[in-house]
């Protein structure tokens, strides 16, 4: 099955047949097969950012995951309290690979699990008093912590604790920012609302609170890069080589001060538009800072983005930009000429969180690979509108696809590479389908920028062409079709 509009429409319809009527009706709205009309004008019929059906094995997480796990957790010099029972903090402890410089437990608190560990009595009597004590204890244990955030888990909202009042009081007492974040897991339909809530808390409690000693014409912010495997560093190095001055990096390897001075930038450069668009919109309105969505996956998109960024500055920057591209292009061409022949025409299915399902398309295309299905866990309408023009006719677009749908698509579309998360990964290993974790780069990376593309290309080749896949027996035969290498 390739990229044929009618065939793929039928394929999707066939797959959805398995659902009970009510769920089928809902799931139908989450699929679209790209046609020329949709591609040309980005018209999107896909329903998104609405509730998942109960019982369907959605890939989605919750608001807490969006706030603590994505946005706040990587702010390295603040202590983030997972406020509520022990689980949420435990499961989000060190699993998103937000690299940060600093000494863990001293001036860097990223890969730690700091929790109020709610017991039954806290549910009955409330956790507010305990929260205040916890904050005092945090300053005792971590004297260099610059601030505290309170990441609410489900019970906190349900029992009606007033974390805002406690935070306000303790902020005064401890003389540091204490930020209440209402990111209880039951709020909203996915991580996405958690990003929004986290952004609002940054806006309300830290933004504009500090000054930059000297501002300059080339001051920019990196917004929405979480430094998975060092991505933000591999991006920052290009911006700085071009002559720009990155004054804040949100939130991978980020610090409180960077949140507080970011309003002094001349331009916001936003990578993960899905998780931090609220921020750049606000900063544009409140401080008149324009923003640009950029994409540093794969050389084609990186050149495009670098030029688009440079175009917003003067000739010096533009010249630097061209020099830089001239410098790196031979290296990128060499990477492509090495790996493209090994990956040409391989089909790819992507199902990633909120941005990489579209941002990585260019990188795969640079390697000659074809995206045949792409979907998001928790995207909104604008993400689909931006993705559609990047696709070929017949590509299947899907929102919040369930484990069942992904497996059926893989079986029926002859997929050569699946890019998704850890919940999906081992299913594809059973199926003998090459797989990369595109939430966490499978503990590799970086993938951003020119340094990152080298790793990306190497990893995709390693994955698609590993001889291990050929050892897998197929159904109905006791021997592998092609044993050995």
């Amino acid at each position: 099955m390739g990229l044929n509009i009618e065939e793929n429409q039928k394929l999707v319809a066939d797959i959805l047949e398995a659902y009970p009527k009510k769920a089928r009706k809902d799931r139908e709205k989450h699929f679209q097969v790209a046609n020329d009309q949709a591609i040309d004008c980005g018209t999107c019929a896909v329903k998104s950012n609405i509730k998942s059906r109960p019982g369907v094995m959605t890939p989605r997480g919750c608001a807490y995951a969006g706030s603590k796990g994505v946005v706040w957790g990587p702010i390295k010099d603040m202590v983030h309290i997972s406020h509520g029972p022990v689980g949420c903090g435990q499961y989000s402890w060190g699993s998103r690979r937000n690299f940060a410089n600093g000494t863990l437990g001293i001036d860097n608190f990223t890969a730690m699990q700091i929790t109020s560990d709610f017991q039954e009595t806290d549910i009955v009597f409330g956790g507010d008093k305990k929260l205040a004590v916890i904050m005092r204890e945090i300053t005792e244990m971590f004297p260099l912590a610059k601030g505290i955030s309170v990441q609410s888990e489900c019970p906190v909202g349900l029992i009606g604790d007033d974390i805002e009042a406690v935070s306000k009081k303790m902020s005064k007492e401890l003389d540091m920012p204490v930020v209440p974040v209402r990111c209880e897991g039951f709020r909203g339909v996915s991580q996405s609302l958690g990003h929004h809530i986290a952004n609002d808390a940054i806006r309300d409690f830290v933004m504009g609170r500090a000054e930059l000693a000297e501002t300059g014409p080339y001051d920019v912010n990196i917004i929405g890069d979480y430094n998975i495997g060092g991505d933000a560093w591999a991006s920052r190095i290009l911006l700085e080589e071009m002559g720009l001055r990155v004054i804040a990096q949100w939130s991978g390897d980020g610090s409180l001060n960077e949140l507080e001075i970011a309003h002094k930038a001349k331009l916001n450069l936003i990578h993960c538009h899905r998780s931090m668009n609220y921020m750049v919109d606000h900063m544009e309105k409140a401080y008149g800072i324009p923003y640009l969505e950029y994409n540093f996956f794969g050389p084609t998109k990186t050149y495009e983005s670098l030029r688009a960024i440079a175009a917003l500055f003067d000739e010096t920057i533009q010249e630097n930009c061209e020099k830089m591209i001239a410098k790196y292009k031979p290296v990128m061409d060499a990477v492509i000429s090495k790996y493209r022949p090994r990956l040409e025409n391989k089909t790819v299915m992507l199902m990633i969180g909120g941005l990489r399902s579209r941002h990585t398309i260019g990188a795969y295309e640079d390697l000659g690979m074809d995206i045949v299905a792409s979907g998001y866990e928790f995207a909104h309408k604008d993400d689909y509108e931006k993705m559609l023009p990047m696709l070929e006719e017949g590509t299947i677009v899907m929102d919040d696809p369930t484990a069942y749908e992904l497996e059926e698509l893989t079986k029926k579309m002859n997929i050569d590479l699946v890019g998704s998360g850890v919940k999906e990964k081992y299913v594809y290993h059973k199926m003998g389908v090459p797989f990369r974790q595109m939430h966490s780069w499978d503990y590799s990376g970086p993938y951003h920028g020119f340094d990152g593309f080298k790793v990306f290309a190497k990893d995709m080749d390693m994955t698609v062409n590993s001889p291990v896949w050929k050892l897998v027996g197929r159904k109905g035969s006791t021997q592998p079709e092609e044993a050995g290498v």
């Binding site: 437990g105 700091i114 005792e140 897991g185 920052r236 001075i261 080298k454 027996g473």
Partner: protein, 519 residues
């Protein structure tokens, strides 16, 4: 361009390059970091006795605890039964976390669904979510049983699972006969082991009650030598295989109650099947007629054991994780007592070979000071193993103590075990403490070796203590769970891990002249 010119560096080496070190320095002007002196002082202070005292006097904040929440254990328990779909009633993020966490440990898929409750369910209750969820999940994933547990959200709003499942039947979403087991697993009570116990008891009691069978202990198998075995919250699939090997050697019939080893060690065949292995549902009511039940995690399985000894009226041999020679001896004695069968010669021989191995290695183990972290039953096993090899447990932390069995609490048993050996005289058992406490202990009272899960790696690194990864979760090493750590074979595996870690240390820290060929 040659391979060298392409020079592909990933995060392990890339960021050590001068240009990135320069970037790191440059970025500091915007970070408003603490001065190098302040950081150095804070680091030194964090390692001091004064800090340790403060650390141990904190009352409320919990830092790096060694426990997860109840429903995670329930999901594992549900996967121990044939064609059973774990079903988590509450906010969907919990289910995503359980699936990720378990998959990161086992490197295997974790099929499990959620009722995806949101704000409206918080107000009106999650009944509609549960009914729709049953309809959808049964249509898609075709389980032969659904096993529902709750999250803290469902518990706080007080959802009544029994009534909801009843209503699903009344509405015809599931038939009267379709098996749906359930348990309540509030995350603010106990830990993952409590949740494992709740679900195991939930499934056993549900399948037994609905079968209409009235238990007559000892009457089930024709031969009258059938045994029930429970491994509990078991992070080692290899331990199931080891138990099967031991039971086969006894030539006894047995039923493993809760066997997730199939689901967490399934073959790559080109097709994903969702359900692999597990205790057969029809075997559960029959298990009520067995001679007796062997439990390998007595603190974990407290309520299940009470149920089996009460309702099924069975004798129970309740042990902790059978590690080491003495621990395995006790296991074999217990099987002998329950079945009346002698210990097979094959196992006695195996014992002899492992004792031989312990003798070979004892010079490198003797007197080694050890820190231990884990769940209660694992710790009892580990303490026993350390003591019988001459290793000296010094710091023992159990975040999810102090569960009791027959009114003996974990801490009491651990302390009694330690007190009975000269090698246990320096040990302190800390219950309800976390890995930040362990960090202070390791820094202020040095040990030679730490044994615990991947989460212990941070404290071990700060204290420059080598870590032997044992327990749950092990995220950062591959395939550890495939090798048993129980029984004589498991003891040999554990010994190899430990002694070779110590030998590696000797090589790493050699003085030049003692970089020796023969050890």
């Amino acid at each position: 361009m040659s391979r060298d010119e392409l020079n592909i560096k990933d995060n392990t080496s890339l960021f050590k390059e001068a240009r990135y070190l320069q970037q790191r320095e440059n970025k500091k002007q915007f970070e408003a970091p603490c001065s190098e002196q302040e950081t150095a002082e804070a680091l030194a202070y964090s390692k001091s006795a004064e800090y340790m005292e403060k650390n141990f006097s904190r009352q409320n904040v919990v830092i790096n605890p060694h426990k997860a929440c109840q429903p995670l254990g329930s999901v594992m328990a549900a996967l121990g039964f044939e064609k059973t779909l774990p079903f988590v009633h509450g906010s969907q993020g919990c289910n995503a976390y359980f699936r990720s966490h378990l998959s990161r440990h086992f490197k295997e898929p974790t099929p499990s669904v959620s009722t995806s409750m949101t704000e409206d369910a918080a107000v009106f209750g999650g009944m509609n979510n549960l009914i729709d969820g049953l309809e959808n999940s049964i249509a898609l994933y075709k389980p032969e049983m659904v096993a529902i547990c709750t999250t803290c959200m469902a518990e706080v709003i007080g959802d009544d699972l029994n009534a909801f499942i009843g209503n699903a039947r009344v509405k015809g979403v599931i038939s009267e006969e379709y098996p749906v087991a359930y348990c309540n697993t509030p995350s603010f009570v106990g830990s993952h082991i409590t949740g494992y116990d709740a679900m195991l008891k939930g499934i056993l009691s549900y399948l037994y009650t609905r079968s209409g069978i009235e238990s007559k202990p000892g009457s089930g198998a024709e031969s009258g030598e059938k045994l029930n075995v429970m491994l509990g919250f078991e992070p080692y699939t290899g331990n199931f295989a080891e138990m099967r090997k031991i039971l086969a050697a006894f030539d006894t019939k047995y039923t493993i109650l809760g066997d997730h080893s199939g689901n967490y060690d399934s073959p790559a065949t080109g097709e994903y099947e969702y359900y692999y292995g597990g205790t057969k549902l029809e075997e559960v009511p029959q298990a009520a007629n067995a001679l007796g039940t062997l439990s390998l995690q007595k603190y974990t399985l407290k309520k299940t054991q009470e149920y089996i000894s009460g309702t099924w009226n069975q004798q129970i041999a309740a042990l902790s994780t059978p590690l080491g020679i003495t621990g395995t001896d006790k296991l074999l004695e217990a099987i002998s007592e329950l079945t009346g069968l002698p210990v097979p010669a094959m196992l006695t021989e195996e014992r002899g070979r492992v004792v031989d191995a312990l003798m070979d290695s004892h010079p490198y183990l003797h007197g080694k000071r050890v820190a231990l972290v884990g769940d209660p039953d694992l710790l009892i096993g580990l303490i026993g193993f350390c003591l019988e090899t001459g290793m000296e447990p010094v710091h023992i932390i159990c975040s999810n103590g102090d569960v009791d069995y027959n009114e003996v609490k974990f801490k009491e048993e651990a302390e009694a075990l330690l007190a009975a050996s000269p090698y246990g005289s320096e040990a302190t058992v800390h219950v309800g403490r976390d890995l930040w406490h362990m960090r202070s202990l390791l820094l202020n009272d040095k040990v030679d070796l730490a044994i615990g899960s991947s989460h212990l790696k941070f404290a071990a690194k700060d204290a420059e203590v080598p870590l032997v990864r044992v327990g749950f979760p092990i995220f950062d090493r591959h395939h550890m769970h495939r090798y048993p750590i129980i029984g004589y074979q498991g003891t040999l595996n554990l010994l190899s891990l430990i002694v070779n870690t110590i030998l590696q240390q000797l090589d790493d820290h050699n003085s030049g002249f003692n970089f020796e060929l023969v050890r």
